[in-house]
């Protein structure tokens, strides 16, 4: 059984692609996103509270 091998050029392109992508993934995530999530959670909690109070 011979599975058709992916050609070498495509392999190299994918390897480069993964390396570039991985280096972007490895970038530290700016604080603004943690703040945004905290804010979303807070506004939800606040509105639940005000609903409960009403």
């Amino acid at each position: 059984m011979s599975e058709k091998p992916k050609n070498r050029l495509d392999e190299q392109i994918d390897e480069n692609l993964r390396r570039v992508y991985q280096s972007a993934v490895n970038e530290p995530v700016p604080d603004r996103f943690a703040q945004l999530l905290a804010q979303l959670r807070k506004s939800e909690t606040d509105s639940e509270k005000s609903e409960a109070d009403a």
């Binding site: 190299q12 993934v25 970038e27 945004l36």
Partner: protein, 181 residues
């Protein structure tokens, strides 16, 4: 009890990488991630527990990108090459020229090609998953990735039957026909 939304934060690095491959500059990419995150949060009901949250988030992100981009394209014609000329691609951490040139070549692909290649080639989604996320046929994703790889090879001056180790500046200089900076 844990909130399933706690998982969102673990996908942020990948969302930013995917957004960068679409938006092509980091400020626009982070705005895109922010918009997507707000949408994901407020539509969290539409996420089916047990399914792939990353795929769900990427779908939101690419839909957000395309709706913004289409609007913008109506306002400003953006012929091929103009965006590529304005790239703010940072060299990778090892500073290798090879990676930077690869990035520049990648950024010259069209939206659909960058998207398909990132989903399948970089993130490792199956053709079926990528097709689901992009709302197109599996064959469409396959042909987009094939064309994208072919175009990249052209842009990088790579040819089949030749072997390259794209690892250092000197090799890349040979590859691209440009002198090493």
């Amino acid at each position: 009890m844990s909130d399933p939304r706690d998982e969102l934060v673990t996908h942020l690095p990948a969302m930013r990488a995917f957004a960068l491959s679409l938006a092509r500059n980091s400020a626009a990419a982070d705005d895109l991630v922010q918009d997507s995150l707000v949408k994901a949060w407020s539509n969290f009901d539409s996420f089916q527990p047990g399914t792939n949250m990353r795929a769900w988030l990427f779908t939101i992100l690419r839909n957000t990108y395309y709706s913004l981009h289409r609007k913008r394209r109506r306002e400003v014609e953006d012929p091929d090459g103009v965006m590529a000329g304005q790239l703010s691609v940072k060299p990778s951490h090892d500073g290798s020229l090879a990676m930077r040139d690869f990035q520049v070549a990648f950024m010259q692909l069209n939206d659909e090609q960058r998207e398909a290649l990132t989903l399948v080639g970089a993130e490792g989604f199956s053709y079926e998953e990528a097709a689901d996320m992009c709302g197109c046929a599996v064959g469409t994703i396959k042909s987009r990735t094939n064309r994208a790889r072919k175009r990249l090879a052209e842009l990088m001056g790579m040819e089949e039957n030749e072997t390259y180790e794209v690892t250092d500046a000197r090799t890349l200089a040979v590859l691209s026909g440009k002198p090493a900076a």
